[in-house]
């Protein structure tokens, strides 16, 4: 958690203060230090959910159920963050909040997949059934993501060819790249630390009737 904060602060400082302003976009490009890591994380978290879902279905490992369940809300918020910062950036750059561009649309569909997953999980009373039902949905989503991605890309390129040039990742300057990588590490660390906290509370809540949880609570109470 502290490491995440450290990376976040230095990455943010490097990104906002030290990195040179873009020759074309001026200072508004600096939002990529939030935008790009959260977009990467949105895909990464879905893969975390998918891998854990496979583990749930094959070996029925309980901790994977908890991890998949706890990741979903985080992944959805990363996706939302990527979309929100993207459209804030798009307003001065493209002159509009929203374009039906391929990447934007597929990211939006990813957000819908996350929300559907969360909705399905919360509809069940029994958590273990919810976890396995959600696991199937997550795996169906994984099969669909490439299809969605390519279909959306084709759809968009046919309708509006080459209106938008995306951020040129290979030609990025090293002074800009280092803060970006730092921010990515920060987002990763943030994700895993919050994930662990969420998992802990999830497990405590689920096991709240067992003896060891009561023991833990009373011991903590007496120690404090």
């Amino acid at each position: 958690m502290w490491f995440a904060l450290l990376c976040f602060v230095t990455g943010l400082y490097g990104g906002l203060v030290m990195a040179p302003a873009d020759y074309q976009q001026g200072d508004s490009f600096r939002i990529i230090y939030i935008h790009v890591p959260s977009a990467w994380m949105s895909l990464f978290v879905y893969m975390v959910i998918a891998v854990n879902s496979a583990i749930v279905l094959i070996w029925r490992v309980k901790i994977s159920e908890v991890i998949a369940r706890s990741s979903a809300a985080l992944g959805a918020s990363f996706t939302f963050l990527a979309l929100a910062t993207g459209s804030i950036w798009g307003k001065p750059m493209w002159g509009t909040w929203w374009v039906w561009d391929a990447r934007l649309t597929s990211e939006l569909i990813l957000l819908f997949l996350y929300l559907g997953y969360i909705a399905l999980q919360s509809a069940f009373e029994d958590r273990r059934v919810a976890a396995r039902a959600g696991a199937i949905l997550a795996l169906v989503g994984v099969v669909n993501i490439p299809i969605i991605k390519y279909s959306v890309e084709w759809w968009s390129t046919l309708h509006q060819p080459a209106t938008i040039s995306k951020i040129g990742t290979p030609s990025i300057h090293i002074d800009m790249l280092i803060p970006l990588l730092l921010m990515t590490i920060a987002f990763m660390c943030y994700f895993f630390s919050v994930l662990l906290v969420r998992c802990r509370s999830e497990i405590l809540e689920y096991e709240s009737n067992t003896a060891w949880v009561k023991d833990l609570l009373t011991n903590k109470g007496s120690a404090a």
Partner: protein, 220 residues
């Protein structure tokens, strides 16, 4: 194979004994189509480019609404449990049920859509393309939808079902619309049709497995 057709025959029989349930999705489809000219205006010039999109979106909605019927009555009277205990693989039974559901809802929908497309002034090439895309597309909708139905059956609210499946339907819609656009421009539609066929094969092989797994989870 015999069991497969027994299930199909049974579901068709049940559907024809409740004719109104058969007609309801079609009525819904026609009514929503009628809403569009009322909302947009009766100008033919303006309606024509939108027609294919209207028909496809409405078909998606109609199939979403009729999907729940695949497993609902069997879930309520416990037939599903007997299916899972049966000597025959559940995947095959699921496939039979989805096939029957497609015969009951998909095929009439295609016919009505052609009729409506004719009324809304689609030309022959576009109508033919509409027929092909719907023929390839509606089975995909039923197959993918069956997974979500199996997951949500018996839970409260039909909203959840549409939330789950509409994102998964989007590729089908996109390829169908690409084909329709090409057809109205007089271009070849083969590539899009091959893609739809590819998705259909993928759905045909994978979705019954997922559906069967979902049903087992719901019954465990």
């Amino acid at each position: 194979m015999y069991t497969f057709f027994t299930i199909v025959r049974r579901d068709l029989l049940i559907a024809f004994r409740n004719r109104y349930e058969l007609i309801n999705p079609l009525m819904f489809f026609i009514m929503v189509i009628v809403l569009f000219p009322l909302a947009i205006g009766s100008d033919r010039q303006m309606l024509q480019p939108l027609t294919a999109g209207m028909i496809w979106v409405t078909a998606l909605l109609a199939s979403t609404l009729s999907l729940e019927a695949i497993f609902r009555s069997d879930f309520e009277d416990g037939s599903i449990e007997q299916f899972t205990l049966a000597n025959y693989p559940l995947v095959g039974l699921v496939l039979a049920k989805v096939f029957a559901h497609w015969l009951i809802t998909g095929v009439p929908l295609i016919l009505v859509a052609l009729l409506v497309g004719g009324f809304l002034a689609l030309n022959d090439a576009a109508l033919f393309c509409l027929l092909l895309t719907l023929l390839l597309g509606t089975p995909i909708l039923s197959l993918i939808g069956a997974i979500a139905v199996a997951l949500t059956i018996g839970l409260r609210g039909g909203m959840l079902l549409s939330l789950l499946i509409l994102p998964l339907y989007m590729p089908v819609l996109i390829f169908a619309m690409l084909a329709m656009n090409n057809a109205s421009d007089g271009l070849s539609i083969a590539a899009e049709l091959y893609f739809l066929a590819g998705i259909l094969v993928l759905a045909l092989t994978l979705s019954p497995i997922a559906t069967a797994a979902a049903l087992r989870i719901r019954l465990s």
